[in-house]
Symmetry: C2
DNA sequence: GTCTCTACTGTGAACGTGCACAGTCCACCA
DNA sequence: TGGTGGACTGTGCACGTTCACAGTAGAGAC
């Protein structure tokens, strides 16, 4: 009898439950639940009463209880399997991160940020993922042979990669920008503005973008009947310093260069410095084309002509693909077009 | 009889539960639970049996079930109540974000990233927070009068701010670096290296750091018996462009400036450009002191002498304070010392 | 009038865990 | 010998939801 009193008092302090809503609306739990799920097989009158009760009580579904019965976490992980340094320093990366957050937010799905840079972290993360504490993973990595992929497969956890994973066989979902076509576009731009001796500072060949941007360079040269000269090809590591070093080397080996396609804006910045130090002018003597449209592109003089990657759309598509996989669809590949941004350097 | 068959089959597909562990170890659920909580009042033999069973079955606690009964979410939000632009572009910010992630990770607490830049997002977020879908909030904001603070208070949700919230009364937890002392240190460095006409490009006075960095400048001038000249004080908005404009203005009004303390590296970059354009040399003619130790500080010529904020420690302390609050402690304020990084610009 | 079909509603049984409580066992002491 | 306390263990219930199922009412067909 009186033993319900403490319970009732406790209940008053707590957020309202579906039972409170049901009582308030004069229907059963089942009906409230159905309204919550979208309202199929619910009479208009009942739905309205439930909606009113929800508003009045300020009811919000208890995600833990829902998870427990649906066997779904209701959340998604954004997994950084990197040493973080390079990727995280890239401001475009933050666009990707917030893009994913808001895209997921529209589905009321929280994004859980997970870093797995160190082995200790990886050990902690693995059980978390295997136990399906998230419904899926947005996987960010730029290195060849990401061990996480194998783990995710084994855990039977849906995942979507950002960028084409290198050294992976078997089907998997990824969303990437069209690096090949982007590189082709930039080199075409250089050639069509009259340049003939076009050099390149490529990225690491074991990272996404590295291979394809170099291939795009070669293809476009070939299409314009320009012979491939391997002395005009250097390889950096995407850092500013490496761009400077590569440019210096290029200027030393081939003095008649009139354009250079650099696989990242950061490296392009370095290249600008080297060119300036050599007493040459950009773009008059040497045109410089970058890649990424990072903030660095506009912070330097002259502002960089570059290739913009659609980070915002990439994040949208990653989320869409992941949700599709969670819903049961198979994996898919999405390639998004890039955009040539013409400024003053080329 | 046979109706247990389907259940058993289904169970086989699913992750093991505490019951499976208990059966396997030959103990009761309660004992397993006690081992999971830290193992008080459990015999060594039982504990060992349970540990072995956990390892063998690969058992991981079901967080949803635990949440349901403990009334705790078991996660923490990292809340960006910003238009994102400025804050997110700052690479130090990513240090903060990963720092919080790993600090929480050590306690097995997932970090949920939430952006609340737009009104629509805020509307979505509010019920989520009020319903205690997270146990606490790491609040990132740089503007005066953050409306989120009031909401969090009303929802009775523990939170810790990054940086001192302006225009707030009442007690609240925050962790900040010692902007005042940082500014004093930099200006002292400028004066002690022989400069007398020290100008400043301050930050917006309605953002953290703005007020204090300016005050530190004034204090140190006073301590060295240098009269405050308001013509030597300009105010930018932390952007590179504003730094350039402010410096230009300073050079126009007071030609005898021999040093300038700039409240952010980004603005300092702009200032360098303006100085170079005026045909003056750094540090020979004008010494430039920055603030933040952002990557920009080393990307420019000459590399910036600047003040480094302890972002990594800030994130650690934010997490520590938040967990303390969640555990029932009252709010607290933490101020962390900055560090002078001497490079070539001053 | 009965039967069927549709649209809607209520109910009981899970989901996996923590906690309070009630034991049980054993050692120790008077 | 009985009592007392401490260390450990098992059990029932509750947490808030979804889902399958059973059930009801009313409309329409025959």
């Amino acid at each position: 009898m009186t033993d319900t009193a403490p319970r009732r008092r406790a209940r008053a302090q707590r957020p309202p439950t579906i039972i409170d809503v049901a009582e308030h609306a004069g229907v059963s739990r089942g009906t409230v639940s159905r309204v919550l799920q979208g309202g199929h097989n619910v009479s208009p009158a009942a739905r309205e009463a439930v909606d009113a009760a929800i508003r009045k009580l300020g009811y919000v579904v208890n995600r833990a209880a829902r998870s427990l019965v649906t066997q779904r976490a209701g959340s998604v992980a954004f997994l950084l399997s990197e040493t973080q340094d390079r990727l995280f320093a890239d401001p475009n990366f933050t666009t990707l991160l917030t893009g994913c957050t808001t895209a997921l937010g529209e589905h009321d799905i929280p994004l859980i940020l997970i870093t797995a840079g160190t082995d200790a972290e990886r050990r902690r993360i693995l059980p978390f993922l295997s136990a399906h504490h998230v419904d899926g993973v947005l996987l960010i990595s730029s290195h060849r042979g990401n061990p996480m992929i194998e783990h995710l497969r084994r855990a039977n956890l849906p995942f979507v990669c950002c960028g084409k994973p290198l050294g992976e066989r078997g089907t998997l979902s990824y969303v990437a920008s069209d690096d090949l076509e982007g590189a082709r576009t930039m080199v075409r731009h250089l050639i069509e503005s009259g340049r003939r001796r076009v050099a390149t500072i490529a990225g690491p060949q074991d990272m996404p973008g590295g291979l394809e941007r170099l291939q795009g360079y070669r293809e476009m040269l070939a299409e314009h009947g320009i012979a491939y000269d391997k002395r005009l090809v250097t390889t950096g590591d995407y850092s500013r310093a490496s761009g400077e070093a590569c440019m210096q080397q290029l200027l030393a080996t081939a003095k008649d260069i009139d354009a250079v396609f650099v696989a990242s804006d950061l490296m392009a910045d370095g290249a600008l410095a080297a060119i300036e130090r050599a007493g040459l002018r950009v773009p008059d003597d040497i045109a410089v084309g970058g890649f990424d449209d990072s903030p660095a592109a506009t912070a330097v003089h002259p502002p960089l002509t570059t290739i913009r990657q659609p980070w915002s759309r990439i994040s949208e598509m990653m989320v869409r693909q992941l949700l599709a996989q969670i819903a049961g669809e198979g994996p898919a590949t999405v390639i998004l077009p890039t955009e040539l941004v013409v400024r003053e350097s080329a």
